[in-house]
Symmetry: C2
Subunit: 330 residues, 2 copies
């Protein structure tokens, strides 16, 4: 039986660990020992997945070395701001050559590195890739039919993970385009903030669909400039994840956008949240990548301005609409 370590017991990390525990000996690392104890004793994660029962087979620990030391696969479910530190700590105990899968959908602030780049720097010699797609944790845990993408350059590793994570209600596809899949996940959180602003200001389905369509176009422009494949952005990791996130009232990034659209201040919104909305932090980093690759990203630009407090949502959306007089495909 393969042994899986999932590092990080947030809603998605816990969900992936719960799925993996059906076919593998799975350990979930939680930073707080109280949370590890709760998962072991009563099989719930009331902080991040209230109301859900976790599989009895899923074990948790607050000891990182214990979690990763015996693992055949390490899944990194920590947000981007803590990713490098945890990856470096895990590196001391992970056995050589074990694949590392990132679940994080953000960039490292300052360096603008993708999480697989951070992982490759800290876990030298390990194959690194991502698990991504239209995957709202609570729907997957409720057993609703869904699909997801595992991206690794090495097809053999991807196939191994595909078998490990596939289940009766979750289909896993493989894709060799790590850059495209990973970047799509990062940018969609920024676009989801803009879509939430649209909702929060009371606009309807036309306006929001237009914004999502333009958002995917600018995501693909950056991704292709960075070496990603166009097909990735038209698939589940690109369009699929973007649509699910922009539609969902449960998405943190979408929620931040709605609050901004209703006129709340970014500082107040972030202070009131229990979880990280990656798009808030990554919007300036994505903009930095866009500048570096000479790609125009007008929606990301406005979201970054609103998230830094230099513009309000109303002004930002008005700018996007007035800009729209250019041709659709240029």
């Amino acid at each position: 039986m393969p042994r899986v370590a999932v590092v990080g017991a947030g809603s998605w990390g816990t969900t992936v660990a719960a799925l993996a525990s059906a076919a593998a000996d799975t350990v979930l690392w939680a930073r707080r020992s109280e949370l590890a104890d709760e998962i072991n004793a009563v099989h719930t994660n009331s902080s991040y997945l209230p109301g859900f029962d976790l599989p009895v087979a899923l074990r948790a620990t607050a000891d990182l070395a214990e979690a990763v030391g015996a693992a055949d696969v390490v899944v990194m479910g920590v947000p981007s701001h803590g990713f490098r530190e945890i990856a470096a700590a895990a590196a001391r105990d992970v056995r050589p050559g074990v694949p590392v899968v990132s679940l994080a959908k953000g960039l490292e602030q300052g360096t603008q590195m993708r999480m697989t780049e951070v992982a490759a720097a800290e876990l030298v010699g390990h194959p690194v890739g991502v698990l991504t797609g239209p995957n709202l944790a609570t729907e997957i845990l409720a057993g609703q039919p869904a699909a997801s993408v595992v991206a690794f350059v090495d097809q053999a590793v991807a196939t191994e993970l595909q078998e490990l994570l596939s289940g009766p209600t979750l289909r896993i596809y493989t894709n060799p385009d790590v850059v495209g899949c990973e970047l799509a996940g990062v940018v969609k959180n920024v676009i989801a903030i803009a879509a939430g602003m649209c909702d929060g200001m009371g606009f309807g389905d036309n306006s929001k669909a237009t914004l999502i369509t333009r958002g995917l176009a600018e995501m693909a422009r950056l991704g292709i400039a960075m070496g990603g494949e166009a097909a990735t952005f038209a698939g589940l990791a690109g369009m699929g994840d973007l649509i699910a996130t922009c539609a969902s009232a449960r998405s943190r990034n979408n929620s931040v956008g709605r609050a901004l659209g209703q006129g709340q201040a970014i500082g107040d919104i972030v202070a009131a949240m229990n979880m990280v909305a990656e798009g808030v932090k990554s919007s300036p980093s994505v903009l930095e990548l866009a500048n570096r690759h000479a790609v125009e990203m007008p929606i990301v630009e406005q979201v970054a301005a609103v998230c830094s407090g230099t513009t309000d949502a109303r002004t930002a959306l008005a700018r996007l609409m007035s800009r729209a007089s250019k041709s659709e495909f240029h």
Copy 2:
């Protein structure tokens, strides 16, 4: 001042006529003289746009010859099943060379012809094209920001219509890809039925986003096989319109799908509707086009089966999900 005739006083025809009346002398043809009288006397269309006031400048008539005889542009806002008959009748009075814009998003049953093909056959020698995009009538009429696409092979005609229909809240783009834009509008109504089935069965945003993503892929496959451009399907006429329709509780096709997903019979649903849900009628026609062009369209296939009463929604969705084990991009 240019003179515009809009033929058909349903919700979208009336909305386009209301927009055009700001910049052009506009006449709206209604089949029922009571509706024409209501529009002229009290400036409302209570059958199709209850609660909205129409511009005082918008005139209506039940006399087709009067409506189209002096027009510089004819906009055809009739559903696909009545399109040829009305186009043939209009042809007797339309002046030579006047452009004809189709708003219909269906195919002719039996021939599987697109509405611009029907228009070209009945209005010989007229430039024909479409107006399409993420355009829920009531949101546009409420003045919400939106964008739309005018597709004509002749760029000069497209630019003329762009100027005529653009307004402070509606941006009009041009696209020379008539086949792609028109086919996208047809297929999206079929996919919207499938998305509605997903909603009706209680599935969430993951499942629906996955279905929409796959739906766009099969729409693009057929469109490209028929001579359309890939970029069209990634833009407002393709992805934009699809997302808006699948998200909207106001979409007729989406509503039909929800009712099917809740277990209602297709005959009862159609009998209870005031307006035409184009996707119900066009699903077998789209499937016929797919077979003719040797393109796989699994979602359209299942929708056609449910709409013909040979399969129920639950079985159809189960078939789609089990089929999903193939690779994402093949």
